[in-house]
């Protein structure tokens, strides 16, 4: 252990290179992980923000953002199923947005009933659940520039109808090119021109004591032409769709995996190079009678010291960088569990890299000590 520590302190240049290599690998893993986590969160953010137990969607809807109309009468049918306490509606579709200066943009308009949940964004009166109608909308803070909103309130047009942007909310940035614009359900039906007999999503709140799976099956029997999901199932479905069925999600997932692999290669090479630089010392240790265990311990300790320092530096550097990235990628997110989750793979990476080095150190021919 002492030899490992001394070697590290002695060759500070090499130590710095190794630590930088590990820090870079940790940065890659955390940053790519943050992109993936943020992307997954954004893909299901609106589903997760509702206070619902079940979702009724048109058959084959793959994710929240690509909805399809449902007959409105399904709301009444759903309310008649045992266990259903309440139903709410959400309508969403792409719409044409035009600001006061006539600048055009395509937005994803989302309108929901007020009971859908306090966490769901919509224009509300301050400190109440009451929704402001008519023509009131809110946007996410990250899209203020995109939508060219200079101040609040500001008058705009959505699908050629007047709308007033009242305020901005945080945490509902869209990863699509089309920013979310939130309004009440009734306003949304008007903006989107939804037929009076149509709706899009029916959300179900259950009575206490009813199992979601049981009520879901009952609803599915009563409404055989639609899909019924638990909230978690629809949330997962949205995430899986974006990650596996679209190029964007697959690219982020691939980048996250590549980040780990590149990190592994960088760390392996730096730790291997460090070990090979000290290979003569390992030969001397063997000649002096050191067993395999001592050599393994020395290489492993050297790797772990480097890993600790590299990981700490990596985390310290990455967090401000992720924050800085939020100005352009608003949905990127680094939860604490991600940092904690990156640590075991980082240490695993170092241990794997150390294993390759240990093999070299153990295999070294002790007789080489006699060479000048």
């Amino acid at each position: 252990m002492r030899l490992a520590w001394r070697n590290i302190l002695y060759d500070r240049g090499r130590f710095l290179v190794t630590v930088l290599g590990i820090a870079f690998a940790v940065f890659l893993m955390i940053f790519q992980g943050s992109l993936l986590v943020g992307f997954l969160g954004a893909a299901s953010k609106l589903v997760d923000a509702t206070d619902s137990d079940l979702w009724i969607t048109a058959r084959g809807v793959l994710c929240f953002d690509f909805s399809a109309p449902l007959p409105k009468r399904f709301v009444e049918i759903a309310q008649g199923v045992t266990g259903v306490e309440e139903t709410y509606r959400i309508a969403t579709s792409f719409a044409e947005y035009r600001n006061g200066e006539g600048r055009h943009h395509v937005v994803a308009l989302v309108g929901a009933d007020p009971q859908v949940g306090r966490g769901f964004p919509m224009p509300r009166l301050p400190r109440t659940d009451q929704v402001i109608e008519h023509d009131a909308v809110v946007i996410d803070a990250s899209h203020q520039k995109t939508l060219a909103i200079a101040r609040f309130p500001e008058d705009v047009e959505i699908n050629h109808r007047r709308a007033r942007v009242l305020e901005q909310v945080d945490g509902f940035s869209s990863f699509l090119g089309s920013p979310y614009v939130f309004t009440s359900y009734l306003d949304a039906t008007e903006y989107l021109g939804l037929g009076s007999e149509e709706t899009m999503y029916i959300l179900v709140k259950l009575k206490q004591g009813y199992a979601p799976q049981q009520v879901k099956n009952a609803l599915q029997r009563r409404l055989p032409d639609v899909d019924v999901w638990t909230k978690q199932e629809f949330s997962d479905r949205s995430r899986i769709y974006w990650v596996t069925k679209t190029g964007a999600g697959a690219a982020i997932l691939t980048a996250a995996i590549l980040g780990f692999l590149i990190g592994l290669v960088v760390v392996s090479q730096t730790i291997y190079a460090t070990t090979m630089e000290n290979i003569e010392e390992f030969a001397t240790l063997k000649a002096l009678g050191a067993g395999r265990w001592m050599i393994m311990r020395t290489v492993l300790a050297q790797s772990l010291f480097c890993c600790l320092a590299g990981s700490a530096l990596g985390v310290a550097v990455t967090l401000p960088l992720v924050d800085a990235a939020k100005t352009t990628i608003a949905w990127v997110h680094t939860p604490n569990w991600l940092i904690a989750a990156i640590m075991p793979p980082s240490f695993l990476m170092c241990a794997l890299a150390a294993l390759v080095s240990i093999r070299a150190a153990i295999a070294v021919e002790p007789a080489r000590v006699f060479r000048a």
């Binding site: 002695y10 001397t284 000649a287 009678g289 050191a290 002790p366 007789a367 000590v369 006699f370 000048a372």
Partner: protein, 226 residues
């Protein structure tokens, strides 16, 4: 007849394979005595270092027996050979000190490997006139001082056999004589078996016995002054 203490019996060592095969040692037999410094001399490629590697349990021969502490090292496993090495003392031409560790730490790490007490380390440094240099790194020591640290390290486990490979090759003449004298004393006064490999004829004056090698064979053995 009792088993020898340290000896090579009809030892053959080959390097390379088939056409490229060369003999480092051919049916060599030498016995080493306790309390004596034996000098192995010979031109480059004569098999001196190979002989030292065999005696140091760092390799095994293709044929013949290598007896260390009365045991044939060719018949024992890797782990036992490693254990056996812990009872030997090594001195190398290139010193082989751990560059990141001070003089005292270099001795202590060897003590740690063999499970010897740490107290002996400082005493050895004092004995070799290095008390003031205990906390210096190898690159802060002269060649002679480095070799004295290396010898102190070799003795930390109180070995009965000390093997030295060209221990004065990297030193000036004065330091070389000091080291040679030190190793002779270790043999003579402490009753240890010291085997030194060297090109340098200066060693003849310090050796109790000289073994001359050429082309992997012992061509002559004599006792200087007799």
């Amino acid at each position: 007849m009792p088993e020898a203490y340290l000896a090579l019996e009809n030892v053959t060592v080959k390097y390379g394979a088939r056409q490229a095969e060369t003999y480092a040692l051919r049916e060599v037999s030498v016995e080493f005595e306790r309390g004596e410094l034996t000098l192995i001399m010979g031109p480059s490629g004569s098999g001196k270092t190979t002989m030292l590697s065999l005696l140091g349990c760092l390799r095994t021969p293709e044929a013949g027996r290598v007896i260390v502490f009365g045991r044939d090292v060719a018949t024992i496993g890797d782990a036992t050979r490693t254990k056996l090495r812990q009872n030997l003392g090594f001195v190398f031409q290139a010193f082989r000190l751990f560059r990141a560790m001070s003089a005292i730490e270099n001795i202590r790490i060897a003590a740690g490997i063999v499970g010897a007490g740490q107290n002996n380390s400082r005493k050895l440094l004092e004995q070799f006139g290095l008390k003031e240099k205990a906390n210096l790194l190898p690159n802060e020591l002269s060649g002679g001082e480095k070799q004295r640290v290396a010898i102190a390290r070799a003795l930390v486990n109180d070995p009965q056999i000390v093997l030295a490979d060209e221990p004065t090759a990297s030193l000036d003449s004065d330091s070389g004589h000091q080291i040679a004298s030190l190793l002779r004393n270790i043999a003579e006064e402490q009753g240890r078996t010291v085997v030194v490999v060297s090109h340098d004829p200066m060693w003849e004056t310090y050796a109790h016995r000289v073994v001359m090698l050429r082309d992997g064979k012992v061509i002559h053995q004599w006792r200087p002054g007799s």
